[in-house]
Symmetry: C2
Subunit: 384 residues, 2 copies
């Protein structure tokens, strides 16, 4: 294969919507509650072929959305969040594959979430929105995929929380997906990762303006969400990567300023990340989605606490990818799943990539990642 | 030596106060500002001997205070923060040594800080309190030590920010201290550690109730300080230690609750740590003290950016102690200083202790730590 990937874009794309789970046909959530209607925002890139055997579902992480590639308007400053991966001649090659990406249930980018209008009250759901799980997100995606006329996916692929969804897909619907690519993810969050999520949620709920989730009329921003995002960004980088990029560098001068404004470059970086997040994300969605991540536990759900047993039902081919400096979803967590699958005498592929970019590495250009995804999907298609 | 240490307490102790830096004799701060008057809260344990060669200054960390050992009243539930280390027959043996511990400048436990009354306005300083440094804290301690009639300290000892103060002591006043014990500390915070401090400060300053530092009349608590403290506690534990202690255990049931109250044990632990901190700590002090930590940079201050050169002026014997699972002040940061001192052809001692307790290990019982401190001080006294 050619190691040089195209930089061509898929071009202009459009967000689409599908609504289901209307009264009498509500979705049964993992909590036992029923919920509907649900609108799911999604985008597709490339064409579904006649045999309908070329569909790949892309699954986004905590703060992602359906806009994985291309631009909505020529003048958009930024393309979709995984534009480096999706397009003609790229690893998720839109000349070959039909790529689907949807915003998760509970999100705030078009799919029904806590900021959506509750048709029963004509007000935003706020905390009346049900607590959801990764399995609920996946159940919504399954409805969308059926609606698009796809019986069996060639692949599911995602990083971080996207990897959790990919894992849920291959275990919840073992007949419905041929191959899964799970990047920088885990079978269950560590105590430390739950702790970081808990602090992020507390930063939001401690904010007076959050007002127990009823803030949608207010013009003021919930700065607690910015604090949560700043903290998140520390965990997405590595200590080593931060040292190389920011170290102890100051913004303006070698001398200290002796005031409390941002002074070190790392402070400005985090402030920028935090404040810009307020323009595109909903505080309540942050609560629901991080909670869904905390709840995700493959061993508990599918193996009565035993991870090896959880993979009994696995039929899909899997590729795991981890990054050496990722301390939020460390390689050991991927390796634990690889070992469990091998113990079940099943095939599995695993790639550990040397990187100083920490957890964020999955969103950054990587020839190794490109090649692995390209090759794995090519093989999966031959075996479909 | 006997490896069994006494559990005897120093008994009842009393907080004392010393005020200096009155008008015309204000303290010159590192920022260039002058400041006064300054009251310093301190405690002493044991007796200063005739030769005045048995004084050991104990230096506290971010959230510590002058109350290092003993109790104020028999009925106190808790003894001082380092009671396991200080007392008759303990490593900091009050039968041999005269132990002094004071609350740092900028603190909120008796020493002048942002919550103190500004005598010029009869109101709390709030953000009119000057931005201070570790060197300023040490300058205040130097005044206290002189006032107590001590010309030369047998030792300075501290963990974390206390280690920074110990390092500042031995370089700022090379003639005034014979031995320094620096535990779980560093020559300068890493980019990541600055980032955690910055998020903690943002959690406070984003809180509406903080009100640009003018909150002292309010009955409501600044929950942003609790968030900062929760985050701090994640960094004081190790991933491994958290896994062993909390894992994914839930408080009440094996089933998920599907609501946002604390559910995982790690969440309850952090909430408790955060909320109880509100009863004993001041949000503005948290800003000033973390900022002082961020500014601390031995290489920049004493070596024009070169750490080896910074130790040119070193005369004291030093013992460094680091803990394997401490990722906030990792052993590599102690080892960097040890190497720098060796490059200057000076003696130095270093102990790396195997522990899963992370940064917090310095406050927990450790026979290795006890023995190292005992032996090091015994030798230092012989050489005094």
């Amino acid at each position: 294969m050619n190691e040089e990937y195209s930089t061509a874009s898929i071009g202009l794309v459009k967000k689409q919507y599908y609504t289901f789970a209307e009264p009498q046909a509500e979705l049964h959530l993992e909590s036992g509650r029923s919920f509907g209607p649900i609108t799911v925002a999604y985008e597709t890139y490339g064409e579904l072929n006649q045999a309908k055997d070329n569909a790949v579902l892309v699954l986004h992480a905590l703060s992602g959305d359906s806009h994985a590639a291309g631009k909505y308007r020529e003048e958009d400053r930024k393309a979709g969040w995984w534009d480096i991966m999706i397009g003609p001649g790229k690893p998720l090659d839109t000349d070959k594959y039909f790529i689907v990406c949807s915003n998760v249930l509970g999100g705030c980018q078009g799919t029904t979430g806590p900021s959506s209008i509750n048709p029963k009250t004509n007000k935003p759901y706020c905390l009346d929105f049900p607590v959801i799980t990764i399995a609920d997100m996946v159940a919504v995606q399954k409805e969308l995929i059926s609606y698009l006329g796809i019986e069996r996916l060639l692949g599911v692929i995602g990083g971080s929380m996207g990897g959790m969804q990919a894992l849920e897909w291959v275990l919840a619907y073992p007949e419905a997906v041929a191959a899964g690519i799970i990047i920088a993810s885990c079978a269950a969050l560590s105590s430390q990762a739950i702790a970081f999520n808990a602090v992020g949620r507390n930063a939001i709920t401690s904010d007076k303006l959050w007002n127990r989730g009823n803030y949608y009329g207010s013009a003021e921003k919930i700065l607690g969400l910015a604090v949560a995002r700043m903290l998140g960004h520390i965990t997405y980088l590595s200590e080593e990567g931060m040292r190389e990029r920011f170290g102890r560098k100051r913004k303006n001068s070698y001398q200290y300023n002796y005031h409390f404004d941002d002074e070190f470059e790392i402070e400005s970086y985090l402030s920028h990340q935090g404040l810009s997040f307020l323009d595109r994300f909903d505080a309540n969605s942050y609560l629901y989605i991080t909670k869904a991540m905390d709840y995700f536990d493959l061993a508990a759900k599918y193996g009565s606490g035993n991870l090896t047993e959880a993979f009994s039902r696995l039929k899909a081919q899997l590729l795991f990818v981890a990054f050496t400096s990722d301390w939020l979803f460390p390689p050991a967590q991927s390796e634990e799943m690889v070992r469990a699958i091998l113990q079940k005498h099943k095939q599995v592929s695993y790639l550990k990539i040397e990187s100083s970019y920490g957890h964020d590495a999955f969103l950054l250009p990587s020839p190794s990642l490109n090649q692995a995804i390209h090759n794995f999907l090519t093989c999966a298609r031959r075996l479909f």
